[in-house]
Subunit: 385 residues, 2 copies
């Protein structure tokens, strides 16, 4: 496969952007990425989005954004894999460039989901689960994660407070990220006193939704000869894997098999091991997911992911810094956009643009985007050259 590089990145603030339309939010990120890349046109557009048919009454986001951005007559399409849509769109773009079908591509992850009230959004998010065998039984998406977390605590003997470090780290890191939804440090005490949502998941175990978009321009790596003052960022590996759509169909609901598979393929492709990674933007939709991702990707033994948080290994100066710009927990989780936020933030780390949460000498990093309860997992490894 032809090597692909990320030439430019863009992102919007995450929050309740009621004053902006869906097209304005996605367009803002897309145009910012093109500006950052120094290009006025691209050959193709790939849009990652999950909820626009349900919340914005809008389908066909490929043509929709190509029109708005001014990419008339270009190829454009939407890719959907629930909360894994962002990275899935990036992967579609990578394949187009790698196949020689596009000399350049813009990838936008976008979601505008706060215009509707709580119940509607909860129902819309539940479309990531199995409509017939999970949702029909009354379990929400948070509920499914709560069942997984409860089982994990029972199986490995962890207390709820042991998960606090994941949220504390994410909130601390978001303080210096101007695009983050939450700018608020939290403590273990506050974590423990936070309102319960679905036992044992409380408000500070869960990531907040939001309106936002993140984007990147990708090109064949050979076309990027030099960039003044910036390293060349190449996609060293890209892989996607799936697991059963329903959690109860899994032999072991505490093992993210698709995360394991896609990370393994990426390690092989990039020729690296977990030890070689300087930073890992993981999918902390709920604190339990941080633990399970760290385990599936080889950073901890089964049932020991929580220990990395307790040992401060996940902080910007630790062994494997995660959520360095706030993660889903504090940067926010505009679902179909999240995968692109992770990649954009990883590029910022590799460029050395992360200020207070910059990982010193970051040269290689991984981003992992999860759809459903681990049903679709898309992993990328980026390198600064």
């Amino acid at each position: 496969m032809q090597k692909v590089a990320i030439l430019g990145i863009g992102q919007t603030h995450i929050g309740e952007q009621w004053e902006k339309s869906l097209r304005e939010i996605g367009g803002e990120a897309g145009l910012a990425a093109m500006h950052d890349a120094g290009v006025e046109k691209v050959d193709a557009l790939y849009v990652g989005n999950m909820l626009s048919p349900l919340i914005d009454a809008q389908n066909q986001l490929g043509a929709y954004f190509a029109d708005w951005i001014g990419l008339w007559h270009k190829e454009a399409v939407k890719v959907e894999a629930a909360c894994g849509s962002g990275a899935a769109a990036l992967r579609a773009g990578i394949m187009a460039v790698a196949a020689g079908e596009a000399e350049s591509a813009l990838v936008i992850g976008v979601e505008k989901m706060t215009d509707k009230a709580g119940h509607d959004v909860t129902a819309a998010l539940a479309t990531a689960a199995d409509a017939d065998y999970e949702v029909e039984q009354g379990v929400s998406f948070v509920g499914l994660n709560a069942l997984i977390m409860k089982r994990y605590m029972h199986e490995y003997g962890w207390k709820h407070a042991d998960f606090a470090s994941f949220s504390i780290n994410a909130h601390a890191n978001a303080m210096s990220n101007p695009f983050a939804r939450l700018h608020e440090r939290i403590s273990t005490e506050r974590f423990e006193k936070s309102a319960m949502i679905a036992t044992p998941i409380n408000l500070l175990d869960a990531s907040p939704i939001g309106d936002g978009a993140a984007a990147a321009v990708i090109v064949p790596a050979e076309k990027v000869t030099s960039l003044p003052g910036r390293p060349r960022i190449v996609i060293a590996a890209s892989a996607s894997a799936t697991d059963t759509i329903a959690v109860h169909s899994r032999r072991d609901p505490l093992f993210l098999a698709a995360a394991y598979e896609s990370a393994k393929r990426c390690y092989n492709m990039a020729g690296v091991t977990p030890d070689d990674l300087d930073v890992f933007e993981l999918h902390d939709a709920f604190s339990i997911m941080s633990a399970l991702s760290l385990e599936a990707c080889g950073f901890a033994e089964r049932g020991q992911g929580v220990r990395l948080g307790l040992d401060s290994a996940i902080a910007p100066g630790g062994r494997i810094p995660i959520c360095t710009r706030g993660g889903l927990k504090a940067r926010g989780h505009p679902v179909g956009a999240t995968g692109m936020y992770q990649v954009v933030e990883l590029v910022q780390q590799l460029r050395g643009e992360c200020g207070d949460t910059q990982v010193a000498g970051a040269a290689i990093g991984m981003a992992q985007n999860i759809g459903g309860s681990g049903s679709t997992v898309v992993t990328h490894i980026l390198k600064a050259e």
Copy 2:
């Protein structure tokens, strides 16, 4: 780009399949394609679908079908481009195979849309149009096509009856297609007496929706050395283009610019002209779309597409046979599946499996799938070798 071949095809009957779930319908077509291809596994799955979040409360169809079919841990993703979703998913699969990311891929176009009542489906289909600037004004998707048809009749002086041949040809061709929704010959008289939906579009100008799925297995062409009793079917060209999402934004609403662009790219890629094509499976969602597609793809001058119908050029023995298995009009239009039905039917023509509507000596054909009012157009040229 590495040449890709279609190794196997599968499809379900189109109709009101209330006794089958979404997963059973898509699974049936997918497994039929794998059986036809003689394979038990594929590397990746691409699903084309438009309405499942809105009608079936189910997202993440990649993982959903990979799970059901037994493609555990494989890559799987959904692609959406309104009614152009089916062919857009095929194109995503082609790029994965062409880029060397998959040695084989299954592509399924699927839609289950008759479980909900009329108003819900009309609203769901309207998500293909511009939510802010078209649908918000009260115009439905049929309404947009009616405006286009009315303008066309005014501009070029055609009467409503002049469009009859498109529907008559489609209904006649569907008679020998066991998968078709409608098995009913129609006459010009009946066409003219049919109930009005949105002037000038009446019931027999419009394609019926339905539940259905069509699928194909694709592999690198070089891997297909010989198939007993069958020609090798290669994808000679694949291209996608977009136009404005709203019809009113176009300089000329009677010209399908994205159809023109994607067909032009395909002609160049395959090294052919319209004269070389033996069959053309076009997107006759409404009879006006047949005329506009024929014009955009170079088979008729502007405003003269209707004449091809009047001259019987579109029948199986004519100059450019269209809708040879019934088209959207009579085979049926399960929106996200339609693009794959077109491709599957084209393969049937190139294999010589079409019985009464077989185009004699068909060796090269084109399929064109349209999303929205011409906003996304995906075109493929297939060749029998």
